[in-house]
């Protein structure tokens, strides 16, 4: 099963669980599983169109899925998927 690492700010939506093992063949499977099991997490992961929010990055290993095949990126049993919130801001 693939390992999914939940970032600190979103762990309150996964019962404070940092790592989850999910049966998945691609990133979309992971998104679907997380959305189903943790509905509160869903609104922080997906926009109104069901797409991964622009402020959320998803990495498979060291690679951003935007540089791979986005949600269609294939996973292996030993894949590590990291959800990475975009951290940004500014005074104006």
């Amino acid at each position: 099963m693939a390992t999914v690492i939940i970032p600190t700010p979103l762990r309150k939506f996964t019962n404070n669980t940092a790592k989850l093992n999910i049966q998945a063949t691609n990133v979309q499977d992971v998104v679907n599983d997380l959305s189903f099991n943790f509905p509160e997490l869903k609104r922080h992961l997906l926009d109104d169109n069901g797409k991964i929010r622009s402020f959320v990055n998803v990495f498979v290993g060291d690679d951003d899925i935007r540089d791979l095949q986005n949600e269609h990126t294939s996973l292996k049993d030993d894949s590590v998927i990291s959800i990475v919130p975009a951290i940004a801001g500014g005074s104006l």
Binding site: I5, T8, P9, L10, V84, I87, G90, S91, L92
Partner: protein, 141 residues
């Protein structure tokens, strides 16, 4: 309530003044017990914003992953993010609010004309609005 130990406070101020007139940024690491957060350490990171950095900051995904790993390996919690507002008060902008994450404390340091002016901390509430978090500076013994 957000306790900040003297050393990380000094390091944040130093970073904010050093990078003036650009915005600085970094991570807050520490502990949370009984809803009281204590900042024990900071991690300074590069402002990854391309071009003009005087009114914007971005932290790269790779730096974020490093901070999570560091917290995990050192038995600390990733508590939030700090950044500076050069020549601007330490009040979050709409841009800060839209990009903010739940749970995290957002410390803002105001630097006026190359000198540290004041510090404030903010957290998102359930309505996705910022609420100020009281800061207590822990003096060294």
């Amino acid at each position: 309530m957000l306790n900040i130990e003297q050393t990380p406070l000094d390091e944040m101020i130093k970073d904010a003044v050093r990078t003036f007139p650009d915005e600085c940024c970094g991570f807050l690491l520490g502990k949370e017990e009984n809803n009281i957060r204590t900042i024990i350490k900071i991690q300074v990171v590069d402002n990854a914003k391309e071009g003009d950095k005087r009114r914007r900051f971005i932290i790269s995904a790779k730096d974020y992953l490093k901070a999570e790993l560091f917290a995990d390996e050192n038995n600390l919690q990733l508590i939030g993010v700090y950044h500076s507002h050069p020549n601007h008060p330490a009040i979050p902008s709409e841009h800060d609010r839209v990009a903010a994450q739940p749970y995290f404390s957002y410390i803002i340091l105001s630097v006026m004309n190359n000198e540290f002016d004041h510090i404030r901390s903010w957290r998102l509430n359930e309505q996705q609005q910022f609420e100020e978090e009281k800061i207590l500076i822990q003096q060294l013994n």
